[in-house]
Amino acid sequence: MIWLHRAIALTLIVTIWQIGVWAALVPERFLPAPWTVIQALARILTSPDDMRAVAMTLLRALAGFALTVPLGIALGALAAFVPQVERALRPWTELLRPLPPAAIIPISIFTIGFGLKLYLFIITFAAIWPVYFNTLAAFAGTNDVLMRTGHAFGCSRTALVREIVLPHALPQIFIGIRIAASVALIGSVVTDIFAGQTGLGYLLFERAFALRVPDVFALTLICGLNGMLFNQMVLLLRRLVIGWHDQMMAEAAA
């Protein structure tokens, strides 16, 4: 049923797009027809060079994500368990959190140069906040009935963290992880655009400056598809780690 609904939505969107092209609201040079974009997409997907660029962007995002998540959890946990740390860091977190990833690229290039380390830095910088803040809130918000239960059945401090605090916090930490996944991808593409010699974002702007508009549409579509791929990856990870919570949410919604 859901697939039928999705097919209808897709048909509708493509139809409106096609009608827009026919009505020539925008010159076709700048708004290519769906079929033209699909052809461009096919060309990119079969071009080893283009696909290498796409893969680079994905892999850098993945590497940055893999670095960000443990770091964000560790910092969030530290801030939750040592309130002095949280209080000391708060002005800095407030100052740094709202900076868009693109805004820190110049400083980053001056201080750490180009290459993978630049990507890792930008991505971590951009994606760590949701993980940090959600971990902090999750650990700080353990309810005392559960804590008491742990104490009552003889949990030591470490057992309490392992048996109660962490499992209780994981669903909320995963909210942060899921946001971080899409931010990591954004950071990777943005770094391509401003400081890359390769990658999806670089390719996108290269084709844009060459006015290869169907390619630009196709590459933008690939950006979106990458996001979907990342999201699915996180959902799979979440199901493996806290499948019980997914199931609980699904049953509550049903």
Binding site: A152, F153, G154, I242, H245, E251
Partner: protein
């Protein structure tokens, strides 16, 4: 005080044996909450429980029953006085051999563990048996509280009454010498409540479990207990101890209609009513 209750109940069969050391002893336990406006909740509670006894604690809502149980279990440090379990103070935290079933049972079950997992969690301090034996024992316990077929369900997949029985099974699973129960049946309907009362009594008998049952239901206190402690309004103190010399096994119809049952019920209810009228608290001498 003691003798009044004993006489009202007829013959006295369940007086604690003074030659046996008590399993649990509370000695003038006091507890207050708050820093600026101080609420005195426990006003010097003293009593003891002997191995094998089933003790009911009744008191008006908000008088400090939950606070008392938390202090008894070592989860809440009293301001004054002391609680000892099996001869040692509980100051260091809940000792092995003491288990508690919380009033807020549904929130105290771990939602990330199945019902079986929750009962196994109750056995985490049982270390003289293999994992397989633990599982077997946990399954048997769940079966005995009527959760056969729901072992692999999560607590949030079963009804409130079932959650309560999982919580009770978890308490018993720890092979504790003493089980503290905080209004375990307050949230279930009358029919289920009667069944669960008999289930609890059956389990207590089967496992030789010493129990302290906190309730605000006077009839439940009489029906279940060997002895009843009546608490005053806040700050709580034990205002009367009443031995319940009713034969066991108890019967929902026969026991509740028997003259001694009604006499004790009368005694407790009038005591509570007089406290309500007089506003008497444990602070009064």
């Amino acid at each position: 005080m003691w003798m009044e209750g004993a006489m009202a109940a007829g013959s006295v069969t369940n007086l604690p044996n003074p030659n046996r050391p008590p399993l649990l002893a509370a000695d003038t336990v006091t507890k207050s909450f708050g820093t600026t406006s101080i609420t005195e909740v426990l006003g010097g509670v003293s009593f003891s429980v002997t191995e094998g006894e089933f003790v009911s604690v009744v008191g008006p809502s908000g008088c400090g029953k939950t606070t008392l149980l938390l202090a008894l279990s070592g989860l809440l440090r009293p301001d004054g006085g002391d609680v000892s379990f099996a001869g040692a103070s509980v100051r260091g935290g809940t000792p092995p051999g003491l288990a508690i079933v919380f009033q807020d049972y549904s929130r105290s079950l771990l939602p990330w563990k199945t019902n079986l997992g929750n009962v196994l969690f109750g056995m985490r301090r049982v270390n003289d048996v293999s994992a397989a034996q633990k599982t077997e024992r946990a399954m048997a316990l769940l079966d005995s509280v009527g959760l056969n077929g729901f072992e692999r369900h999560y607590p949030w997949q079963v009804s409130g009454g079932m959650q309560q029985r999982v919580a009770i099974a978890r308490g018993i699973a720890s092979q504790s010498r003493l089980l503290l129960l905080d209004e375990p049946l307050a949230a279930v309907d009358a029919q289920t409540r009667a069944e669960m009362q008999d289930l609890l009594l059956g389990i207590a008998k089967q496992y030789g479990q010493t129990c302290v049952l906190v309730t605000h239901d006077v009839e439940e206190a009489v029906y279940m207990g060997d002895r009843i402690l009546v608490l005053s309004n806040r700050p709580a103190r034990v205002v009367r101890e009443i031995a319940v010399a009713l034969p066991r096994p108890r019967d929902q119809i026969e026991t509740r209609e028997s003259a001694p049952f009604l006499a004790i019920r009368h005694e407790v209810l009038s005591l509570i009513r007089s406290m309500r009228r007089g506003g008497a608290t444990g602070a009064a001498p």
